[in-house]
């Protein structure tokens, strides 16, 4: 299976203090500026809405919401949005469309035959190959498990809840797979591919709905377990 995206460790520091953009976080001296933190004179300030996280001398804010920003190596579920003679444009849920060159497509594609190989609306499993400084990204479909997704469902959760879906050491995703008997691939852009019997798919989608609605509150694993048991 191609599931990927273990927790990036940013779950730590939850249920600490909620900070809002512009809020002063104390003097900047001898402190390391982390994610979601900026400077105003000799003060540190929060630049995002989130929970304050202080680890050693590093101060950061764990945002309650965040847009998906592609990083090389990310496994993502994308939709074909357009094409030219030798490239496709892929919606990967990021601020910009990614590019899939013909040379990185699965199998051989003739010049000018991109639409015959994969038309607009096709769902694909791909991996981010490179991201440049202006956030333009290139994705590849050359690699194990990367393919067109012709069956199953795609559901979506906000990318900042990915860590909750995976759970600690993959516990949550494992629980969902075992309870529903479905194949599930978690893209790091927050899109999940689910394939299985209709009953199982419905169960997973119910669980994802719960994660979307209550994922920001503590005690999520217990709630999802309760839903699966019922």
């Amino acid at each position: 299976m191609g599931e990927d995206g273990a927790s990036d460790g940013r779950g730590s520091g939850r249920d600490i203090k909620l900070v809002v953009p512009g809020e002063a976080l104390g003097p900047a001296a001898d402190r390391i500026v982390g994610h979601g933190v900026g400077r105003r004179g000799d003060q540190l300030i929060a630049t995002r809405l989130g929970h304050l996280c202080e680890q050693g001398s590093e101060v950061s804010v764990v945002p309650v919401k965040t847009a998906y920003m592609p990083r090389p190596g990310d496994l993502v579920v994308g939709y074909i949005e357009g094409m030219r003679a030798n490239i496709w444009f892929i919606d990967i849920g990021a601020p910009f469309n990614a590019i899939l060159p013909m040379s990185l497509a699965p199998g051989k594609v003739d010049y000018g035959a991109t639409r015959d190989a994969m038309d607009v609306g096709t769902t694909i499993l791909c991996r981010v190959q490179e991201v440049d400084e202006s956030h333009s990204s290139v994705v590849t479909m050359k690699g194990m498990g990367l393919r067109k997704l012709n069956s199953g469902f795609v559901d979506q959760v906000p990318p900042h809840l990915n860590a909750q879906i995976i759970g600690s050491k993959g516990s949550m995703i494992q629980m969902l797979k075992e309870a529903s008997d479905c194949r599930i691939i978690v893209g790091q852009n927050g899109r999940l591919w689910i394939e299985g019997e209709p009953e199982g798919v419905r169960l997973v989608r119910d669980a994802l709905k719960m994660i979307r609605e209550t994922g920001h509150a503590p005690g999520l694993a217990g709630r999802v377990q309760g839903l699966l048991d019922s």
């Binding site: 249920d15 600490i16 203090k17 909620l18 809002v20 953009p21 512009g22 809020e23 002063a24 979601g36 900026g38 105003r40 300030i45 630049t47 995002r48 809405l49 989130g50 929970h51 945002p63 309650v64 919401k65 965040t66 847009a67 601020p95 910009f96 469309n97 202006s134 956030h135 900042h160 920001h216 509150a217």
Partner: protein
């Protein structure tokens, strides 16, 4: 402004038509996350004003010609619903909504860290459902909360309040009668953490002393509104101390 100078809107005790004192705000309620499909959203009730602001993005900038190589663009659209006023508001963009969209965008651009999302677009939509004077301030404040809710990086949140003059007295947060029949109106956008000014317009005449008084009212009121904004965000996402 000032065409109805004989209308008495404040008595000798400093009590206004709706019972407020000169420095008092109308009641304000803010709710976060009212539009689940949006990346960020907020509704605000400010007196009889009712507005909803939503934020989508950062997303691919369309049309292409508006995109900037080095930063994101803020695409702000302020609109009043046809049923929001007693005289039906003709639907669609007009000169006034275009102006308010522009000044709102300029005010928000001074706090949003646009350089983090080059070539993209952040869409802010403000829909006024019920209007009772000061809708540009209400819209800007709601947009600020919606941007924070969407997780957009900002150096501060903009708070907007208007003060003005009625029957020769400077008062804070004009209501409909005071706005229609008063002598001056001074909407301001303030950054509550630094006191910086990011938006200012003025209608009517104020002496330097009156201007200073209206300014002080706005800056103090901005602190009070900011507390309500923070409480609304904490209410949605839990937390606080």
């Amino acid at each position: 402004m000032g065409g109805y100078g004989d209308v008495q809107m404040i008595d000798e005790d400093g009590k206004r038509v709706d019972g407020r004192g000169p420095g008092d705000l109308r009641p304000i309620e803010i709710e976060v996350g009212v539009v689940p499909v949006a990346d960020g959203s907020a509704s605000i009730r400010w007196g009889a004003n009712y507005a909803i602001a939503t934020v989508y993005g950062p997303m691919e900038a369309h049309p292409r010609k508006i995109s900037r190589q080095e930063r994101a663009v803020l695409d702000v659209r302020y609109n009043m619903a046809p049923f929001s006023t007693t005289d039906r508001m003709r639907p669609g963009f007009n000169r006034r909504s275009r102006e308010i969209s522009k000044v709102t965008s300029d005010a928000l651009e001074s706090v949003v860290q646009l350089e983090l999302y080059p070539r993209s677009k952040i869409r802010v939509e403000i829909e006024v459902l019920c209007a009772e004077a000061g809708t540009r301030c209400v819209g800007l404040t709601a947009a600020s909360v919606a941007l924070a809710d969407a997780g957009i990086p900002m150096t501060d949140m903009v708070v907007s309040v208007a003060s003005g003059k009625i029957n020769g007295v400077v008062v804070c947060d004009l209501n409909k009668e005071e706005d229609n029949y008063g002598e001056a109106d001074l909407p301001m956008g303030v950054l509550p953490n630094t006191g910086d000014l990011v938006f200012l317009q003025m209608d009517g005449d104020l002496s330097p002393e009156e201007f200073q008084q209206a300014w002080d009212y706005n800056v103090n009121a901005a602190q009070a509104v900011h507390e309500i904004m923070v409480a609304a965000l904490a209410d949605r996402y839990g937390g606080g101390e």
